[in-house]
């Protein structure tokens, strides 16, 4: 993962609350088996609308998304984060994020900055008054700067540290492999194992056919 210290880019005001993961990337785009190439899928349904914010030239190359509360609700699809990253977003600013989305972002180096809804409104106004205006997000100082406006944001200390160091979680966990092995040694015997597989007797499943 790339280290994240500070980022400056065009701010995009997305005046919607409850932007769910089906809006960020509809399910039909989830069939790909790669982690990249999702930029065309981002906000796919809305992008058909000429007035949609990302279809306006000033915001087209945006990299800091400023959204309404409860951004990223719904499914656990990390594709939502990949799509935002592939499009070019480095930061999402909102007053509330869905837990799984925020977790996925942290694993992928997409910064989710929590600010009050009042500050979201201020940012929206600035970005709408001056389309194409840039925002600087400093993870080091935990600040968002947009013109004269400087506000601080919240982020979990540990996530901040991992983002700034660009660290891989699996590598960190495997440093404690002895602890995992010790834990496994004392797990109770009744805890189920998937292997060897046990099932009810096998039965044929008849294929349904289309109705005439």
């Amino acid at each position: 993962m790339e280290k994240f210290t500070t980022h400056t880019g065009v701010g995009v005001p997305l005046r919607r609350s409850n932007v769910d993961t089906d809006q960020i990337i509809p399910a039909v785009y989830l069939k790909r088996v790669t982690k990249t190439g999702f930029d065309d899928a981002l906000f796919a349904a809305w992008r058909g609308d000429a007035d949609f914010i990302l279809n306006q030239p000033a915001y087209k190359n945006g990299s800091v998304l400023v959204a309404g509360p409860d951004f990223g609700t719904g499914s656990s699809r990390e594709h939502a984060v990949w799509a935002l990253k592939d499009y070019g977003f480095k930061v999402v600013i909102a007053s509330r994020f869905a837990d799984i989305f925020r977790g996925n972002s942290g694993k992928q180096g997409l910064l989710t900055a929590v600010v009050s809804q009042e500050n979201v409104e201020l940012l929206w106004k600035l970005l709408e008054t001056e389309p194409g205006k840039e925002i600087t997000v400093s993870l080091e100082d935990r600040t968002i700067t947009c013109g004269e406006l400087v506000i601080s944001f919240e982020i979990d200390d540990y996530v901040r540290w991992r983002l700034m160091e660009g660290l891989d979680d699996i590598g960190l966990t495997l440093q404690h492999e002895e602890d995992i092995t010790a834990f496994e040694a004392q797990r109770e015997g009744w805890r189920p194992k998937t292997l060897p597989a046990k099932t009810e007797p096998k039965q044929p499943v008849v294929a349904a056919r289309p109705v005439e």
Binding site: V28, K31, K107, T173, A207
Partner: protein
Amino acid sequence: MGTTLAEKLWQDHLVRKGENGAPDLIYIDLHMCHEVTSPQAFEGLRLAGRPVRRPDLTIATEDHNTPTLNIDLPIADETSRIQINTLRKNAEEFGVRIHSLGDADQGVVHVVGPQLGLTMPGMTVVCGDSHTSTHGAFGALAFGIGTSEVEHVLATQTLPLKPFKTMAINVNGELPKGTTAKDIILAIIAKIGTGGGQGYVLEYRGDAIKKLSMEARMTICNMSIEAGARAGLIAPDETTFEYVKGRPHAPEGQDWDDAVAYWKTLVTDADAVFDTEVDLNASDLEPFVTWGTNPGQGLPLSATVPNPEDFADETDREAAENALRYMGLTPGTPLREIDIDTVFLGSCTNGRIEDLRAAAEIIKGRTKAPNTRMLVVPGSARVRLQAEAEGLDKVFLDFGAEWRNAGCSMCLGMNPDQLKPEERSASTSNRNFEGRQGKGGRTHLVSPLVAAATAVRGKLSSPDDLENAAAALV
């Protein structure tokens, strides 16, 4: 001070306590995989040269993409076919058990785990799917994870996590006839909002919860994520033990006794304190349906489409305006007057045998509304087989419904089962997001009873709207 059930489960799976703000390391007892959120995780392992640490705690099924027709033929959609073949190849390469299309144990991952007896009280269960919260119905700490975490669990059988906050949802009183677990959870989400549960594990408690079957408890826990929660929990009791006993992977002999002795300790202590508590009176409930584009936008069926101007909060008002525009609804219209094109009975929320039985009881001997189609998609191949053994398939077919093979199907429209633009559904699934069931499709979330009655009338309905339906209600 005592501890809550969620805290006990956490403590019992603590591999290592985090220091200096680092997360705790939590052991995972069961990891379920499906074709959509796992390919990039397996690829990550391959690139790093890492094995699956515990294939014996891992299981895969095919569900999100699978067709529900012609399952004996090659999958027509190329990208779906590639994704499913990728899962099969990964399962073989990494030694993971898989139940593929056509197998009697194939089906929606959250239906398959419990029916195999792999889901039990006192476990930690994860899957790259937000509805993993379903398994919390057994008194297991179960939650959805993203693909990076899927890879993490495959490689280490653990997850680094910060403790969740705890919320008690107390549901007391007598649930009226014709009202179900689905109505309870839709009412809870409408009450606390789609973000109300953020950061929390919800523990559903109270008389009304204790009386519910395991299927009904799964329906409630399943939709915890729709309130924004990480997980939902119900303390295990005799109903739980009875459900697990005798299933293929259930413990036997001394193991069973040991397990039950431990499971009986899995309750929130009387003097434990939750971070938040919410109360709901079950006897006040009636069938609940959604009118908008998030699961919190719901109302009792007897209500009318709300007027956005009546929302005090500006964000809620804007959300309601957007929702009504998308849904093509006019404020003031009685919900019972809304015409429905498609009824979808199925999904990890309401695709279990009890759901099919309840719907079949209502439609038995009746005729489907001519302009409404009904799609019945069992949650798993075993559920389908069970329903066929009970003759339910005949009831659905005689009624005029389509009887399909198992999978996620129209819940999220990754397979060919999709709504057309502006087509309106009454769906027993879990999400009414814009485009969820097909681009431009309009979804009303309902219980299996409402789904069945709606298929009879062709408008959003409860069994009360049908003649002589009361006798069919359990």
